[in-house]
Symmetry: C2
């Protein structure tokens, strides 16, 4: 096990998904993690999970991570700054400018506050869903302000790196505009699109394919959390939505008179720009780009998949990920096997020699 870059005690306030995951990750590195939560039951759960010990009088944390709801974050950060006058305090909320502003308004000592936002989460919240590897390979945005020292920045960067995150430096304003674009505006769009289904006849939603499911999946998010986020980042989100609305008006005008000169071009441009935009998202197909994928045809018979995996093991190749594509009732399925690119050719040859049929990549 690697040693931690961080030294000293870490205090985590709030033991939901993020706080508990941070505790688990730091404990795995052998660090002393003191946990606090206003709910004793939630605190006990996180301790049981192995995320740390209960905070105690006399604790002297070097870093404090506030991982509570966005609308409580500034108040708790201010309390922590006051209670621990030598600690660096950070938070993990998904808005940054509003929290810094609120701290300034509260007269808090913001010279020891450095905001951050790990871009990691799960659909399901709570300590029960926490994982030590939640942050692995995910961006962790650090938002220094004019009063942040290099030493403070490096300390928080060490925390992010210790947890497997990839530090990204942005100003609070850059962060807020960025998440408005990649997270907050998409939430609004998905919610409004899903809401359109409410007027539909009973049979219509049952016609939905994977496209609608994907496009509206995040519409199932918790409204209470999102009112806080949207309220705290209102101006940047409104700006993105206004530009989106202007584009939408252009498409509606083209659809209102699809035979008019320029109308097909306007539709084509909107669709082509969508192609270009989605191409800017790294790993956009949800596949880990570090690996090569082999697609192996597997008969729908008991033990066939186990046999395949056993034989891959016999070839000495480590399988990094596996996905099974199988239509119920079909005679064959397809196992999509992710391996290191340099092993891909060797494994393909070995499996073919052993009688397996390899298919073209099916995505």
């Amino acid at each position: 096990m690697n040693a931690a870059r961080l030294t000293g005690q870490v205090r985590v306030v709030g033991t939901g998904l993020l706080g508990t995951s941070i505790g688990l990750g730091l404990r795995a590195l052998g660090l002393d993690v003191a946990l606090a939560n206003r709910s004793p039951a939630a605190l006990r759960l996180a301790i049981d999970y192995g995320a740390g010990r209960a905070a105690a009088p006399g604790d002297d944390p070097s870093i404090i991570v506030v991982a509570v709801a966005p609308d409580s974050t500034a108040a708790i950060v201010a309390q922590e700054l006051e209670a621990y006058p030598s600690a660096l305090v950070t938070d993990v909320a998904s808005v940054k400018g509003a929290i810094l502003q609120e701290l300034t308004d509260l007269g808090a000592d913001v010279s020891r506050y450095l905001g951050s936002h790990p871009m990691a989460g799960r659909e399901r919240g709570g300590a029960m869903s926490a994982r030590a590897d939640l942050f692995l390979g995910r961006p962790w945005v650090l938002t220094p302000h004019a009063g942040t020292t290099n030493e403070q920045f490096f300390a928080l960067e060490n925390l992010a790196v210790d947890l497997g995150g990839v530090p990204v430096r942005m100003t609070p304003e850059e962060h807020d505009r960025g998440v408005a674009l990649i997270s907050h505006a998409p939430q609004v769009v998905a919610s409004l699109l899903a809401a359109r289904l409410l007027g539909a006849a009973e049979t219509v939603p049952s016609l939905a394919g994977q496209g609608l499911r994907d496009t509206t999946r995040i519409a199932a998010s918790d409204p209470e959390l999102w009112i806080q986020i949207l309220g705290a980042n209102a101006a940047p989100v409104a700006e993105v939505l206004r530009a989106f609305r202007d584009d939408l008006d252009g498409v509606i005008a083209a659809l209102d008179d699809p035979e008019a000169p320029g109308a097909p071009t306007r539709l084509a441009t909107a669709l082509a720009r969508g192609n270009e935009g989605v191409a800017r998202i790294p790993g956009k197909h949800g596949r880990d780009e570090r690996y090569a994928t082999l697609v192996v045809q597997v008969a729908d018979a008991p033990g066939e998949l186990a046999r395949l995996l056993t034989e891959i093991g016999e070839e000495g190749v480590n399988m990094e990920d596996l996905r099974l594509e199988h239509s119920p009732g079909a005679q064959v399925g397809f196992a999509e096997i992710a391996v290191l690119p340099e092993k891909s050719h060797q494994l393909a040859e070995a499996l073919t020699a052993r009688g397996w049929s390899l298919a073209e990549d099916r995505r």
Copy 2:
């Protein structure tokens, strides 16, 4: 193998993804399938795939399926109606009203035309992606008009059922409004949302999580196909987009003055309606609702997953689907195993007894 409900010869015109998949499915039932394609190379490929034989002079199909691009569909249907004066002709295009109208304008014998739309597809088109089970469990919309007889309707219903589809009866207008809502408007929304990324700084798209990936995935669709679809279904799509735009204006107004009385309520309502809307989509989490899921913790060691699958086989339980959730570098992964609900409890107990750790359902 079940006998086909259909009898007689089936002619398939167009051997892309849908036409080839239809041929494969019908051939598997032992039916005589005659294939036609204006490209001899594409035709040969579909024949090689086993989707049928080349059409020949003297063919006497009882049903003809036209599976070509939407903007060529009406012209080809009209040709087929004329060339085969006793056949029932259908198509599989994703708009229905415009095609019926165009056929009427062309003076075609629409009494033998019955439109349909199988709600199935893959991200990748072409004969290479065809599958006999493409339509399995998917809705297949049939759109009878005033001149359609029961006999014609039942014949086409038999085709859909033979291919594993679930027939759904709608008027052409109901169909077009329905797909505007569940497919065409979402395509526009996803494209416009993805296009917003074009203005962003380099680092911003790299912060994207699964939410943005899902919301914009279909923005990667083929513009050429979608210009045809949107042009042919312009009015219903514009109607959905206009209602969406009105909702969006309400959210933008609330964000422009988030402290105003009623603004938080307006945001809350938009988000809550999104919750309700997405709940109307059956199987909305992309998981097959017919199965129960067990989540088993699997150590990241060679052969562990193979051992798990072997032991599941030894318990005599058939695994219906498998997904591996595994963060690179993590010490454990999670195998999500779909089984028949009535087997779930028994398997959970058996695996626990064999020393496996079961986790709560992680989605």
